[in-house]
């Protein structure tokens, strides 16, 4: 996994609550057996005017000019600013894959759906929870400032605005450690093999029917 330490990134605002993973990456693209290449279909139904199917040449498709991420001022954004319960619905990890492939490294919202939140960390992305009024303030600043960037520092756990305002954020210590060092979970868990085997043995003695 790629490490995440610090980012000074252009911010794109997606001013909707309850953005679900079906919207982030529609079901027809889940037929792929690969884990890359989903970026051009991130937010497919909002982003294009036609109906997207796998295998299309996305560069030739009609763009929806009303969709915020299509505005020229947000091209190259790596920070997504959005509203509560982002990533709700399906557990599809294709959603963070698509956002990451699109170029987002950080997502800021007042709250996230649990499974999506968890999936982000597995893909070197940092979801950040800020209070609703702070998020509101950021939305206001983004809308009036072309080229609005935020500086995100994971080890210090801070977001710094262009005006120098600092917003601290919380992150779980274990996840932070993995993200800062780009550590692969499976490798880490494998170091506990002996404990897993010991647990398994005890568990099997207590509930042998689980091992039929």
């Amino acid at each position: 996994m790629q490490a995440f330490t610090q980012l000074n990134g252009l911010v794109a605002p997606l001013d909707r609550a309850n953005v679900d993973t079906d919207a982030i990456i529609p079901k027809q693209f889940l037929k792929s057996i690969k884990r890359s290449g989903f970026g051009p279909n991130a937010f497919d139904e909002w982003r294009y005017l036609d109906q997207g199917e796998p295998g299309m040449d996305n560069s030739k498709r009609p763009i929806n000019p009303d969709f915020v991420l299509n505005q020229s001022r947000y091209q190259g954004a790596s920070v997504l600013l959005t509203r509560e319960n982002f990533g709700c619905g399906s557990s599809r990890e294709h959603a963070p894959w698509a956002l990451e492939d699109y170029g987002f490294k950080v997502i800021i919202a007042p709250s996230f759906a649990d499974i999506f939140f968890n999936n982000c960390f597995k893909n070197g992305m940092l979801p950040i929870v800020l209070k609703a009024d702070v998020v509101d303030g950021l939305f206001n600043q983004v809308s009036v400032t072309e080229g609005y960037k935020l500086n995100i520092d994971l080890s210090a756990q801070t977001i710094t605005t262009p005006a120098g305002e600092v917003h601290p954020f919380e992150v779980d210590a274990f996840r932070k450690h993995c993200l800062l060092n780009g550590l692969d979970d499976i490798g880490l868990t494998m170091q506990q093999q002996d404990k897993i085997k010991a647990f398994e043995l005890k568990h099997q003695q207590a509930q042998p029917w689980l091992f039929n």
């Binding site: 709250s111 597995k122 506990q192 568990h203 029917w209």
Partner: protein, 470 residues
């Protein structure tokens, strides 16, 4: 100290714990074709093998067609979908599984219908699957939740999951449900009350007399929708209803293990006085048949209600959501729900495709016919075994005589990955669980209801109160 059921299930699976982050052991891993190929590929690249093959039960469901089975795999017109289904078979052949029900097997079906039906879901288990509706299995007093594909790979390789303990919420529904009010209506009423983010960070335990009196199938419907309230896991205490359901299934404990298993299972309930982080209470008598009007399951009202108007929105953000929902759904505020005409009907999905669901829908459809404005009414059983049972009871005949199509099992129009889908602008009464934009087909408009309400809408051509029929 008095423990909640969630605490008991979590604590009994902790392999090791450090600073609140635990490694928990996974007893059952359910696998389907959409969220597993990248996980198997990861194992292959790293030269890893599954830790315990006997924990894996797999089936193909999301992508499989619901008709044209006589042509076999070659009947799947979409080559990308076919490849994904074949890839699952290849992967299971290479890595192994306790059981695999491939496309067209007589026991194939929606993974959350198949697991319990086979006795592969048991009380006290930890159950995971790369699918958010894994919460369904919590109906058995199991700790069950959806995981992402990276975690699918992690569980395969290590039999464990890295987890932090959730907070606990108790949802209590007391009283007696009125005629025509089902587990689905209870689930939607709860979500209407908590909101779709209300359960974020929580495991929900459903309790109260309504749940105690519910069948296992109803309990599965309820736990299935826990994720729509934002909770990864929904759980229900074990009782005789649970134990009677589990008894005699193919993977249930054998005779010599049965008594020990039951003795343990009988401890799987929250202790008297156990503390929850939050409690929500509903009265059964207040719950009517529910219909969603918008693009989130929380946008729901009773059948005698109306599409709410903007003044009722709680804040600016919700006002924006509602405005977008009106536009997408093609509805205006204050429209009576019973005035909403439908184009299609879908009876199926892991929420409502079990035998009791089909019986209930058939009872409404019997001797009637779908309305002329209903272009398609699909009945998609949850599994091959549900289908066989329904056919034995003659339910297929009731449906086809009433103008419904009787299909092969799978996820079908719940997520419209296969050919079953809504065209843009079409409106559907659906027994599934998500009414998100585009969920049943780009531009499609979904209204979530119970099987009874879906069948009644099919016959009337618009939503009607099932309680007024008969």
């Amino acid at each position: 100290m008095a423990k909640t059921l969630y605490d008991k299930l979590f604590d009994s699976h902790v392999v090791t714990e450090e600073n609140g982050t635990a490694l928990i052991y996974i007893d059952r891993h359910l696998v389907h074709e959409v969220t597993s190929p990248q996980a198997f590929e990861g194992l292959r690249l790293a030269g890893r093998k599954p830790w315990r093959i006997s924990s894996i039960v797999a089936t193909a469901d999301h992508n499989t067609p619901t008709n044209g089975w006589d042509k076999g795999l070659s009947g799947i017109a979409d080559p990308v979908a076919r490849l994904q289904i074949e890839t699952l078979s290849d992967n299971i052949r290479e890595f192994g599984a306790k059981a695999y029900f491939p496309f067209m097997d007589s026991r194939q079906g929606i993974v959350h219908v198949v697991g319990p039906e086979q006795g592969a879901t048991l009380p006290g288990m930890t159950v995971v699957c790369g699918d958010s509706h894994t919460s369904t299995h919590g109906a058995f007093g199991a700790l069950a939740h959806g995981i992402g594909t990276s975690e699918v790979e992690h569980v395969m390789a290590t039999q464990c999951l890295v987890q932090k303990k959730s907070k606990t919420m108790q949802v209590v529904v007391n009283g007696i449900l009125g005629k025509g009010v089902t587990a689905k209506d209870v689930a939607l009423a709860i979500i209407g009350k908590t909101g779709t983010a209300g359960g974020n960070g929580y495991a929900i335990e459903f309790a109260g007399s309504v749940i105690r009196n519910m069948s296992m199938e109803g309990r599965m419907t309820l736990c299935n929708m826990a994720i729509e309230a934002g909770a990864r896991a929904g759980i229900i205490a074990v009782d005789d209803t649970t134990i009677n359901y589990v008894k005699g299934r193919p993977f249930s404990p054998k005779a010599d293990q049965w008594e020990a298993a039951v003795a343990y299972w009988n401890t799987l309930h929250s202790d008297e006085g156990a503390a929850f982080d939050a409690t929500v209470t509903l009265n059964a008598e207040d719950i009517q048949p529910q219909v969603t009007w918008g693009t989130s399951p929380e946008m729901v009202v009773g059948i005698d209600g109306k599409v709410p108007s903007l003044e009722m929105a709680k804040n600016e953000v919700q006002r924006g959501d509602w405005e977008r929902a009106y536009a997408y759904m093609g509805l205006t505020p204050n429209t009576l729900i019973s005035d909403i005409q439908i184009d299609k009907v879908f009876i199926g999905s892991c929420t409502n495709s079990r035998i009791e669901d089909l019986r209930a829908a058939a009872a409404i459809a019997k001797g009637k016919h779908i309305a002329p404005n209903v272009k398609l009414a699909l009945v998609v059983p949850g599994s091959g075994l549900v289908k066989a049972q329904a056919e034995q009871e003659g339910l297929d005949k009731i449906f086809t005589e009433a103008g419904f199509e009787w299909r092969e099992p799978g996820c079908s129009m719940c997520l419209a990955m296969n050919a079953d889908r809504l065209a843009s602008g079409e409106r559907c009464a659906s027994t599934s669980n998500r009414n998100f934009e585009g969920r049943q087909g780009q531009g499609g408009r979904t209204h979530l209801v119970s099987p009874e309400m879906a069948a009644a809408a099919a016959v009337a051509g618009h939503f009607v109160d099932v309680r007024d029929l008969s």
